[in-house]
Each structure stands twice: as C-alpha cells, then as structure tokens.
C-alpha cells in the first residue's frame, strides 16, 4: 500500500523546522485484537445488587472495547491499522481470496477474522457496531466450538495477517484477550507448537500484549502457558515493568469494560520514542542516556482530500507533487534545486553544504547549565509543548539511578534544571527548563495517568517575547470589590480542584468525526454538537449567581465614586490606591491632563500651565488652533507662538 503521505513530504520541506518531528509520528502502528470466544468468556458475570453491576460477558466487553478503540484511532491515528480476530468460534473465516496466497492457502479452523487488519473503513466500524448493538447478531456469531483447537494455529493465523497486511509497519502488536491461562494443559505437543509459533511472531517483530481475564473463582496464572508465549526485549526496562494487570469479571464495582478500555487505551498508542539514547550531560564529563517521548500531541481534524467519484465507490485521489521551473514549466530534479534567501531585491545563495553547516550547532545533547528554583520560571514563559524524558540503560549502565536521584532532588526542593538541548542531528538548539513530574494514578482504576519522570520545557528566547501595547497605568480595584470577587472564585472551583483534560474532548475534532461517521455509516446527522468545554452556566448561576450580582452592584458604585472623585480632583489621580503607589503614575496622569487640547483649556488652566512650565509640551498645531480662536496671528516659530499666548494671557 502506497503511503499517500510520502508524496506530500516535498511540499512540507519549506517548513523545515517541524518536519522531522512529524516523521517520527508517522511511524506506523498495526494492532490486531485476538478475542477468545468460549463458554466461560461468554458468561455474563453473576448479577449483584448494585445498580452499577455489569451485564456484559468478557467477550462482548472486549468487542465493545475494540469498537470504541477503532473509532478513536480513526481520529487520533488515521494512518494506523487495526483488525479483530475471534478465536474458538464454531465458524471459521479468513481473508478474502485476493490476499491469501493461492499456493500456500491454509485454513485456520475456529479462527474468525471479524475485521481484517487495515486502516479501518466505515464497513469495519459497521461490523463491530452490529455485534455491539444487536444481540441477535452477536448470538448467531459468537458460538464457541465444541472441538478442541490449537493456539499455535491462532498465532500462525495472526502471523499471516501481519505478514500480508502490514509487512513493513514499524510497530505491530497482537492483543490477546482471554480467560484461559492453560489452553493445552494435557497436550504437550500442542504447547510446544504454540511456543514455536510465538517465537515466529517475535522474529517477525510482532509484540504480544496479554489482557488476562480472571473470574471470581479462578485467578489467571500467566506461568501456566503465557510466559512461554510472551517475550520482552531485554533492553526494555524489563525489571521495571509496572505490575501486570488482571481483570476480574465479577459484576461489581468498576465494570470490566471500563477497566479493559482504560488498560488497552494506555497500551494501544504505540510507545514511540522521539529520540533514543540522547546523551544527558549532568556535569562536564558526566553523562547518562535518556529517551524522549511526545506525550502531548495537538490533534486537529485532517485536511480535506480530493475525492474521485467516477468509480463504484468514492475514492481518495492520491496527489503527487513535482517541482517545475516557473517560467519554462520544465520539471526539475530535486538535486537541481538551490536554496536562496531574499535580500535587497535579489537572492543570497548558500551551497547545500553551507546551508547544512548553518544549521549545525553541534551533536545532539541535553546539557545542564545549572539549576534554578522553579518559581523563577514565569507562568507566561511558554512557547512549545514539553517533551518527556526517561532514562535508558542502553548507552550508560547506571543511567536510571542517576536520573532517579536528580528527579528526586528537583521534586523535593522544587528546583528545575536549565539546559542546552539539541534533540537530533541538525535540530535547532533550544534552552529548556527540566521539570520533574510526580506519578499520578487514577483514583478509581489505579492506572497510571501521569508518569514520573522529567520534562523538557522549552524556554522563550528574547526574540520570542512580545509585549502588549502601552496602556495607561491601571486603576487598582478597591479592596471591597476584590473581596466580593474572591467569594465568586472560591465558589467555582473545578471538581477535585484540578483541570483534568480527559473531561474536555476537543469539540471541533469530535464534531468533525461525528459528522463524517454519520455520512460514512449512513447514520442520522446529529443536529447539536456535544461540547463539554462550554461552561456549566446553570451551576455557575446556582453557586455564585448571588455573589456575582453583589459584585456587579458594588462595581457600579465604585465606578461612579471613582468618576465623581476624578471630576472633583480636576483630572488628578484618584486616591483609592495605596499611598505608596508608584510615583510614575502621577506623572503620567498629569501628562495626560496636559495633553488636553489647548483650545479646550480655560484661561485659568492656561495660566496654571504657564506657571508649571508645561505649556511648551503642546504641539504647534494646538497653539495655532488656540491663537486662531483668539483671533491672533498664527505665523512664526513655536517659541514665538508660545510668547504670543503668554502675552495674551497677561493682557486678559
């Protein structure tokens, strides 16, 4: 399958800055769900008194989970593949003929390929939706076989799906959801075959993730079978793995589905590194190695595409760009293209190697310059999302303990590192603050929502700092008004006093895909978007309405008072503020009074201005206006005009 992104790459190279980042993200991922269909997997959990009790059997929960995740992936990673394979079913079904190799066609009994591994299409969503929403459909399909079947066959079936559909994907994962911890307890040969097929998958580059289901009367034991099936890269933090999760189909508390979804969710996004083994220089001559991860990634609706309607079904037209010489329309080769900068009506040229040299500031490194207290980082000093780093033992043994010690120190003393940072060869250097994060677990599921580690927080350069327009010195609010406002703020704290992004899906993104889904699946088009970012007005009114009303009244009073006082003081500074207010304010206000047009000033004001020596601050135009109004000559230089005004004041 040709990657349509490839041909657009050229177009993007004008935005040199961001391009390498996107190429890391475009590393593609393929996930195949293998869901066990058996008597015990189809058993609904024993009912409980609690209303929250779930009724979904583990198999249905797993298919629901796959359905949700498929819809999510269409939004979050539209180039990635996904598939759903049921095993242990009475019926068998494999890929359509065009993909199965005619000579080596193998049957995979009791494997039912519900949705082939591919970038999901509307059809795939429909298939899952039908099972999830239609009990009859589910019942007719989810019939467990009475015959014994072999796991090695299931694994080889998965192998063939990956081999044919996602041969060159950087990340390929098989998610097995089952409650059987020992499928071949009596058949040693079948066990060995499965282990061999698992090794094949490992050699093919497929990683197996197990989502074991335990029942009230049976705890899933990996040692029985799956420890022979599952491999861990010895370089990966093997001993540091988080505790393995077992899911209970028990009918009370948090539902199996919720648990499964949150666990699969945290694993469904392939863990892509932004960079590997970056030297982290803690002091001169003292290095450890770290890996970088992009845990924040702005999601936006995909750009519109060109669609060809001439065929049976609408098809995306794949664009290919070519470069041509503007005046001759001759197609030019990439090697011919030179880069030049506009300069004084012409171009300044650099050779490609010079161009490259100008972007070189040294090899990739994260080098500590020193440490500062975290409060020295102003709130607004933000320019870019941060990058998460985590230690790696691959280049330097002992990196993890040093990293942990640094993390601990920064966390305890609320300090931050300041560092010079070049992420990749020829990447633009940045200055970053190194901030520690404390691990946070979800209160309900105990699943990690924020990892412990360090973050590279890009700092603005002097060039990145903007300033608002000059404004007159602010009028500081009187204390009683602040007091009233304080009550409002106290009333309207967010739940758990914290901003939880999970509660705020991006409304534009959701609406975009909601509509597309409706079009693609021929569903009814919804009228009203669900927008969870809109403030809860009714609650605001209920909790703080009274205080806001009080504040409004008080504000009106204070404004009136202020204006009255200002009038009485003839434009002099209002005295609500503390006496130690900056002296500059006074100067400004009086200067403002002085800039009141001369023509509008009374004779007395003018005399005051003469005494204060501020008359000269007015413009020649103002003098001319004034003199004209008094019927005097407007000719001559500024000093002459001033003299004439003063003369007139003396005379009158």
């Amino acid at each position: 399958m040709a990657d349509p992104k490839e041909s657009w790459k050229q177009e993007d190279d004008e935005e040199e800055e961001d391009i390498d980042e996107t190429s890391y993200i475009s590393q593609k991922d393929a996930v195949l769900f293998a869901i066990d269909v058996s008597e015990s997997m189809l058993l609904s959990p024993p009912s409980s008194d609690s209303n929250k009790g779930e009724t979904d059997s583990p198999t249905i929960a797993a298919i629901k989970c796959a359905y949700q995740i498929m819809q999510q992936r269409i939004i979050s990673s539209p180039k990635d593949m996904m598939g759903v394979l049921l095993f242990g079913t009475e019926e068998s079904k494999f890929q359509e003929e065009e993909y199965s190799n005619s000579r080596g066609h193998l049957a995979y009994p009791h494997c039912y390929l519900l949705s082939d591994l591919n970038v999901p299409a509307a059809e795939d969503v429909k298939v899952l939706k039908a099972i999830v929403e239609d009990d009859e459909e589910a019942k007719s399909l989810l019939v467990p076989t009475k015959e014994p079947f072999s796991m090695s066959n299931v694994l080889f079936c998965a192998n063939q799906i990956f081999t044919t559909k996602a041969p060159n994907f950087g990340s390929r994962r098989l998610f097995i959801i089952t409650d059987k911890d020992d499928p071949h307890s009596t058949d040693k040969k079948a066990r060995s075959q499965a282990a061999v097929r698992a090794k094949d998958l490992y050699d093919l580059g497929v990683i197996i993730e197990l989502f074991p289901i335990s029942h009230a009367d049976h705890e899933f034991d990996r040692a029985n079978f799956y420890d022979d099936i599952i491999y861990r890269d010895p370089d990966e933090e093997s001993t540091l793995l988080a505790a393995p999760n077992n899911f209970k189909s028990s009918g009370d508390g948090i539902s199996l589905l919720t648990n499964l979804i949150s666990d699969i969710n945290s694993k469904q996004v392939a863990k892509r590194t932004l960079f590997s083994n970056l030297p982290f220089e803690i002091g001169p001559g003292f290095k450890i190695s770290v890996k970088g991860y992009n845990l924040l990634q702005k999601q936006a609706p995909a750009r519109s595409s060109f669609i060809w309607l001439g065929g049976e079904t609408p098809q995306i037209a794949v664009g290919e760009s070519a470069r041509m010489e503007e005046d001759t329309t001759r197609i030019v080769d990439k090697a011919e293209i030179k880069k030049a900068y506009k300069f004084g009506g012409t171009q300044i040229l650099f050779k490609p190697e010079e161009q490259k040299e100008l972007k070189t500031f040294g090899p990739p490194v994260l080098r500590i310059i020193g440490f500062k207290p975290q409060n020295m980082l102003p709130f607004w000093a933000s320019v870019k999302k941060s990058t998460f780093i985590y230690p790696s033992e691959e280049d330097y043994v002992g990196s993890t303990r040093v990293f942990a010690a640094l993390w601990q120190k920064l966390l305890n003393d609320k300090k931050m590192g300041v560092a010079w940072y070049i992420a990749r060869t020829n990447a633009t250097p940045l200055l970053v603050a190194i901030l520690p994060s404390q691990e946070r677990l979800d209160e309900a599921t105990n699943i990690q929502v924020l990892p412990a580690g360090l973050w590279l927080y890009p700092l603005p350069f002097a060039d990145d700092i903007r300033n608002p327009p000059d404004v007159p010195t602010p009028i500081v609010s009187p204390d009683n008004l602040v007091d009233e406002m304080r009550k409002i703020v106290q009333q309207l704290q967010l739940p758990k006093a914290h901003y939880d992004p999970v509660k705020y899906p991006n409304p534009s993104l959701q609406w975009h895909y909601r509509i597309l889904q409706a079009y693609a699946l021929d569903e009814e088009i919804p009228d009203v978007p669900e927008d969870k970012t809109i403030p809860k007005y009714r609650q605001i009114n209920k909790r703080a309405g009274e205080y806001i009303n009080n504040w409004q009244k008080l504000l009106a009073e204070q404004v009136q008072l202020f204006q009255k006082e200002r009038k009485e003081r003839g434009g002099l500074k209002h005295e609500i503020e503390d006496d130690d207010g900056p002296p500059k304010k006074k100067a400004r206000t009086s200067a403002k009074a002085a800039t009141k047009g001369l023509a509008e000033m009374s004779a007395d004001d003018l005399r005051k201005a003469v005494e204060a020596g501020t008359l000269g601050k007015h413009s020649v135009a103002e003098f001319k206006d004034l003199l004209l109004a008094k019927g005097l000559s407007t000719s001559g230089r500024k000093q002459e005009l001033i003299d004439r005004v003063e003369q007139w004041l003396d005379d009158n």
């Binding site: 609408p314 171009q347 010690a405 003393d413 903007r466 403030p535 900056p582």
Partner: protein, 739 residues
C-alpha cells in the same frame, strides 16, 4: 516603531583613512566600514521598500552633491553623493563597495556633509502636502576626525536638525570614550579638537549618539531583537456566566488579548533552479520570455520553482493498477479511516463546528495544582479595554482576587466567529505599572498520549513485588551527592547586574535564538563578502551552551563526588559479526524454544513465514554455507513476491524481506552476499524479468535505502559510497510523471 525610515550614512574616505592605527591591520576606513556595512546589510535583509538609505562620501576626490552643483559653494566641495535616498539594492551595494575606497585628498568638511544630509532627508521625507511624513530620520557620520571643520554655526545647524527631527549619530574611528574605556594614545594633531566639535554638535541635538567605532563594532555581535507590533488575538467581553440567560448574575468585562510569546522563526529560503539555458529550446520558445520579471532582474541565472500536482486513483483495469485523474474531475471530501466521504460543495462546512466569538470562564483551580509541563505552547496576555474605566476596575478586582487566593482560572476562548474553541489557563500578572491576566493553552483529552512508565522511586519486579533497594534506584550516597551538586550549581544568584549585585544568571532577555540570528548574520556577511566562508556561530549565540566555567571549576569536588557515587559505566559498542552460536532470545519463562524447533524442517524457508524462518536459520547456523543457502532462498522469495505482485500490492512485503536480509547480512558482516543479490535483482528488474515494468519498485528500494552495502557501513567492504549512490540511478529514466 516608525514604519518608514530615511537614513543617510556619511562615510569619511579622506586619504588619512588609508592608514592603520591602534595595532590594527585593516585600514581605518575598513575598520569603520565594518559598522556601516553591517547596518546597511541589516536594512537590506529586512526587504522593506519603506526603509530608505543614502550614502555620502566625505573628503572624496569628486565633488558631486546637490548643494555643490546648485550653489557652486566651495564649502560643499569634496563631498560625493554615492547613493541617493531610497531602498538599497544589491547592485548598488556592489557600486558602493568600489567607490568607498580612501581618496587622495584630505579636504572636505564633515559639518558641510551633515548639512547636505539634512537637506536630503528634509526633502525626501516631506510629503506632497508639504507636511513632514512620519519617518525615522537619522544621519550616521563615520569619520577618523581628521581634516578641517567649520564650527562657526553649530547652533543653527543643530536647530535645523532638531526641527527636521533627525537623530545624529557620530561614530569616530579611535575617538576617545572613557565610559566605554577607550583612549587613543598617539592622537594626531587637531583630532582632539575635532572630536570636541562633533561632540558638542551631538549634544546640541535633541536626539544624538556620540561614540567610538570599537564600541559600535562590539555591539554588532549583539543580535537585534525585532519588536513586532502587538498582535491582538481577541477583543470583546470576558464572561463568567451566561448573560443571555442570567443577566443579573453574569460578569462581563471588556478586554483585549495580545500575544505574550510567539516563536520567532528564522528566515526561510526559497527554492530556485539555474535557469534552463538554450538546452530546453522547445519549451523555452513557448514560454513568456518577454515578460521581464523585475524581482529576478538582478539574478537572471535563477528561476523560481513551483509545485505541480497530479492525482492518481486505483483502477484494476489500468496498467499498474492506477490511473491519472484530472484535478477538475475531483470533488472535495474527507477520509474516515480509509473510507472516502464525499461532502458536496453546498455542504462544505458541515463538519465544521459552528462557533461564535466568546471568552468565558469555566472554573478555577489552585495554582499549585497546575503542572506547567502539560501546557501546549505560546502564551497571551489579557488587559482591560483601557478607555473603559468600569472594565479596568472590574478586571483589577478579578486579577487581585486570583492573586490573593493563589488561583488560576480555566477558560474557553473562541478568538473569532467560526474559530475552534481552545481551553486556556489564566494567571494574574501584577507589576508596578501593569495589571493583566496571562494565559497558556491547555490540552484537550485527545492531545494527551500517556504512555505508562515504571515509577522512579521503587521497582516492581515481574512477580509483582515492590522493592526500594535496587541497582536502578539511587543509594543514599548518590542521593546526597546529587543534592549537593544541584545546590552547588545554583544559577539564581550567579549573574551580576549593572551595579555588580548578584542576580539571576541567564535571564531570558539575554538569550537570543541561535537559529534566527545565525542565518541573519550569515546572510549579511555573504552579501558584503560573497566569497568568504560561512562562520561558526557567533559567541553570543553559543554563550548558554555550556555551564559557566567559573561555576564548574568552583564546584569540581561536588561533581567528582557525584560521579563516584553514581559509578556509571559506558556500554561498549555492540559486538557485531558474531556469526555462530549467538545468544538466543527466550520468552519470559526462559523456555528454550530453539530446542523445540524441528531443525531439519526449518532449513527450508517458506514464503509464508520467510522472515522468522530466515532469522531462525541464521541464529542457529553452524557454518557459512548455512547462511549462503538461507540467503539464496530469501533472494528467490523476494523475486517471487515482486513477480507475483498485482500492481504494487506485494511491494511492501518484498521490501520488508529485503530489509531483514540486508540487516542480518550486515550484522553478520557478509555484505558481498547482499550486494551480489541486489545487483542481480536490479538487473532482472530492469530487464522486465520480474513481471513487467517494475521500475516503480526500484524507486521504493531507493526510498528505503536498501541498495548496496558500502564501506561507510562496513569498512572492509569493496563498494565506495559513490558507487552505492550511483547504484540507485536507473540509466533509462522513468517517463516524467507530470504532464
């Protein structure tokens, strides 16, 4: 910032400027010109048509200037107009470079030159209406202070300069400047008094600078930070509550929101090609060569590059499975997964969320509950609409309430009707003369991709037990050493302010974007010295790339203690080329899977399971011939996959097999096997032996860099880097894909 500029440079090129002083090798003129060239190049680099500059040569051989020719006044002799006021072009720069050489005379009066410059600026900046236009006006005089000056009428000259509103800058070659710390020891006769005259003239001007070249040149390396105009991102009410529904209990404050940070981007290069010469006669003749492109007038050899697009769709009946479609036959739509969803033109905006401009508070959080590293980027600042007293007082109460409660506000903002909503976090900012709210964008649910990582303060073993003592956890000794080191390397008071008081080291205002300024400096230099090589980055740009030496040397013992406590070991480079009996990977249980494999059976590689089969044979190989045999089988499979491919359907799989073959043979240090294969493969492919025209496949081979293994990858390899690059070319090129 005034948008229009009129600057006249007066350059003293008297015979005396050919000399070299103060131990410099370059002539005095060249020394002074370092400043002038840089300033001229800065103006040119801005590419602004409203930035005008002119150049006068002082003590020149010629006497070509408006006042000399019109009034014939000898007092204006030996002053030459080298460039009239106007935008500066590249060819003019070249002219200046030839004309600004030391002359053979020492006559010519700097004061007269200033008068000429004043009249030039006055004339240039007076609008048609007769009123002065809004300009930044400046005269820059660079002189060595030799020659005679007529100081008889300095007052009236200063008056005139002030009246026209000109800034006078005098930069003297080896002028004394005690503040900067420069004094010329062997000052020529008369120079001191000339310095005094010029200084008194500058002092009489309302706006003027009097300095020495040494300081000016030193300041050149300090990058100039552009201050763009404030950019407003929102103007309207900041709301708390729903005014339409609850008018009596809704807070509405009239506010304006501006950028607070915005990443400054380096200038971007555009693409050009050397203009096709007569070689391209047939297309050249038909193109509009008559149309003279003024932009390109200076560089006729370059031609701009544009992109064209062609579109393809799948069509099983077409050769290669794809056919071209015309852009005009295509409709608009979106991708939902791999399904194409057509949206007709009349419904174009159906997927767009309808929004109206708004800025409303969602709720509040305590400031210590905010994790800085979770924000999404550039910040803004919100201020009350300043002419609205009510808004000013209202916002002030809001700001102070947040400040007193140590709270931040979460708000939803739609900058303009139809724009996407964004969630931001607002914090109070109170400065002596300023009150406002600063904000940063927060992530939405979809923006967060939390991967899970093991904790750093405990280790969970595979069996699920938690331990607190482990080789991956710091010992108490390491913890203490790290603590001491971090304390020692504190920067919060390491800097010095103007009064020499301790202050923060590396404040943001002193950090300059290396990417932006390096390219700017290089462009200016290239413009003036086209043949000079590219410089390494300026010192000021690299200043923050290392910890300060003083701090490091003062805390060497803390670092030493940390290194000792850490006992970090570098991993030796990977051992490649271990051909046989490689360590085998085992599953979690440690089961020896290889012993379960049926050896004899596994010597045969099946097309279905080729990659695992091949890897397993290689890892269990006991002789070279095993590997040769396995590679041979793989080669056949790859050819088979390409040959059987319908269109490009089998290409990815063939490429993956090639990639595995290449990587394995590379790590076995047996490059010849691969190179022989890929040469033979290319030959068969080009000859159409693998199922017709498969040159498209070879492009993919090139794209994935699966060609010859060269001596860069393995030093003993007999293929050079150039050979490997050459290998990718296909002698018979593909027919051009664009029409």
């Amino acid at each position: 910032m005034a948008d229009k500029q009129a600057i006249v440079y007066i350059v003293d090129q008297g015979a005396s400027t050919a000399e070299s002083h103060s131990g410099r090798e370059e002539s005095d003129l060249e020394y002074g010109m370092r400043y002038v060239w840089d300033k001229i190049a800065t103006t040119m680099a801005a590419n602004r048509t409203t930035w005008n500059l002119g150049v006068l040569g002082l003590r020149s051989d010629d006497s070509v200037n408006p006042l000399y020719s019109s009034e014939g006044d000898e007092g204006y002799g030996n002053i030459s107009l080298l460039k009239d006021l106007g935008p500066m072009r590249m060819n003019e720069l070249a002219n200046l470079q030839t004309s600004l050489k030391p002359s053979s005379t020492n006559s010519g009066d700097a004061i007269s030159a200033i008068i000429i410059a004043v009249s030039m600026i006055e004339e240039f900046t007076t609008l048609k209406s007769g009123k002065p236009g809004k300009f930044l006006r400046r005269i820059v005089l660079v002189t060595d202070g030799q020659g005679t000056l007529d100081d008889s009428d300095l007052d009236s000259i200063a008056d005139k300069i002030n009246e026209v509103d000109i800034e006078l800058v005098v930069i003297g070659i080896d002028f004394d400047d005690l503040e900067f710390g420069f004094k010329e020891e062997d000052k020529p006769e008369g120079k001191a008094s000339n310095e005094a005259i010029l200084q008194s003239l500058v002092q009489k001007c309302n706006s003027g600078i009097f300095g020495t070249v040494a300081e000016a040149v030193q300041n050149l390396s300090i990058p100039e930070v552009k201050t763009p105009r404030p950019y407003s991102t929102f103007k309207g009410p900041l709301a708390l509550g729903d005014f339409a529904k609850y008018p009596d209990s809704t807070m509405l404050i009239d506010v304006e929101r501006y950028f607070k940070t915005h990443i400054a981007r380096a200038v971007t290069a555009s693409s050009f090609v050397t203009r096709a010469s007569t070689a391209n006669e047939e297309t050249g003749a038909s193109s509009k060569t008559l149309e003279e492109d003024t932009e390109m007038a200076d560089a006729p050899e370059l031609s701009a590059v544009k992109s064209t697009f062609t579109y393809k769709v799948n069509d099983p009946t077409a050769p290669g499975g794809k056919k071209d479609v015309s852009r005009d036959d295509l409709a608009k739509g979106f991708e939902y997964g791999r399904t194409a969803v057509h949206i007709s033109a009349s419904e174009e905006n159906v997927t767009k969320l309808e929004t109206t401009q708004s800025f409303s508070i969602i709720g509040f959080i305590p400031s210590d509950k905010y994790e800085k590293y979770l924000n999404m980027g550039e910040s803004c600042v919100t201020i009350a609409k300043c002419i609205n007293v009510e808004a000013v007082i209202a916002l002030s109460s809001f700001i102070h309430a947040l400040h007193e409660l140590d709270s931040y506000a979460v708000a939803r903002i739609v900058a303009k009707d139809g724009k996407d909503p964004v969630i931001i976090l607002l914090a109070p900012l109170i400065e002596p003369d300023f009150e406002g709210l600063v904000d940063v964008p927060l992530p939405f649910a979809e923006d967060i991709r939390m991967y899970r990582f093991p904790p750093l303060d405990r280790v969970i073993t595979t069996s699920g037990a938690t331990v607190t003592k482990h080789r991956n956890l710091p010992t108490d000794e390491l913890t203490n050493a790290m603590s001491d080191y971090v304390n020692a390397m504190d920067l919060s008071t390491f800097g010095k302010d103007d009064e020499g008081q301790p202050t923060e080291y590396m404040p943001m205002e002193d950090t300059y974007s290396p990417a932006v300024h390096r390219i700017n400096q290089a462009i200016r230099k290239r413009a003036i010295h086209p043949d000079a090589p590219v410089d390494p980055p300026a010192e000021v740009l690299m200043k923050w790339s290392h910890p300060p030496d003083e701090l490091v040397s003062g805390n060497a013992s803390e670092l030493k203690a940390l290194i000792d406590a850490a006992s970090v070991k570098k991993v030796p480079p990977k051992q490649n080329g271990r051909r046989f009996n490689r360590e085998t990977i085992k599953p979690l249980s440690g089961l020896d899977v290889d012993s379960l494999l049926d050896r004899d059976h596994r010597q045969k590689i099946s097309i279905e399971n080729s990659i695992p089969d091949f890897k397993q044979i290689v890892s269990s190989a006991t002789s070279d011939s095993n590997i040769h045999d396995a590679a041979k089988q793989m080669s056949n499979i790859i050819c088979q996959l390409v040959k059987d491919s319908t269109g490009d359907s089998g290409y990815s799989r063939a490429l993956e097999n090639m990639k595995v073959l290449r990587i394995e043979l590379l790590s076995l240090e047996m490059p010849d096997i691969y190179n022989d294969f890929i040469r033979e493969f290319k030959r068969r492919l080009m000859e159409g032996d693998l199922g017709g025209d498969r040159r498209e496949f070879f492009l993919r081979v090139r794209g994935e860099k699966l060609g010859l293994i060269d001596n860069m990858a393995l030093d003993f390899c007999d293929v050079s880097e150039e050979d490997a690059a050459q290998f990718y070319s296909m002698k018979v090129g593909l027919p051009s894909r664009a029409k």
